[in-house]
Assembly symmetry: C2
Homo-oligomer: 156 residues x 2
Amino acid sequence: MFAERVSIEQVEEGHELAPKFDAQGLIPVVTTDYDSGELLMHGYMNREALQQTIELGEAVYFSRSRNALWHKGATSGMVQKVRELRIDDDQDAVWLRVQISGRAASCHVGYRSCFYRSVPVGPQDGSQPRQLVFEECEKVFDPQEVYGDAPNPTKL
Amino acid sequence: MFAERVSIEQVEEGHELAPKFDAQGLIPVVTTDYDSGELLMHGYMNREALQQTIELGEAVYFSRSRNALWHKGATSGMVQKVRELRIDDDQDAVWLRVQISGRAASCHVGYRSCFYRSVPVGPQDGSQPRQLVFEECEKVFDPQEVYGDAPNPTKL
């Protein structure tokens, strides 16, 4: 399914899918909501995850914390149906535009988007950590109810 | 400006900016157009680039191909004004919502978005590479005119 990367012209201007995986065998993935355009999550795929996503038409990531393929929604029911898949100029990043079944959330903490907090920009006293602002105020689902005692994927 | 990462609750549910940089000292960055919502590019920042972006209110990335800080638009004039900066649940990815001055393009190949090609999804004969479809048909600017003989950042 993937072509060899043979030239910059082929990669940037050509019609062959020739993705670049990093030293860990991964490619970063940006996932947005097809209808609202909102950024839902940032994840990773390995070669097999990208192949499965393309063939299945549903998002399959590679979980770095679990070191395993991760068919999004297999546990929560919130499957991401791929309406469009794009690749960037040098083919080292993937953009998924998805529609989500069920409660339409993507974040294991319970919010709609993983990006529920903003960071104020501009000059400020640099000795204090920036204070985050919650842009989503209510969780869409209860993680405990959906995931039970599954280990939290967040690593310090 | 950044807090130490001390607990999952602090990182996920707290108000302190405590970003996680990877083994190379980088954090991935997703950049979308503030007005259209379109995904423009996927890049990286190191600690200094993120600090400068927050203080300056303009996107400063870390260029992996040049191994240097990269104030986007310094060469091309297409500066990215940060209208909103968000961080994800486990604080290992950044979302920039930007407005671009000048010709409003973000891609060194000359397109508006770096993600100018799509990959058709669904079952297909797996022996052939997937054929990409151009979703942007015309370049917004001539890279030769803007960048001259600067080396192409794409790596095979």
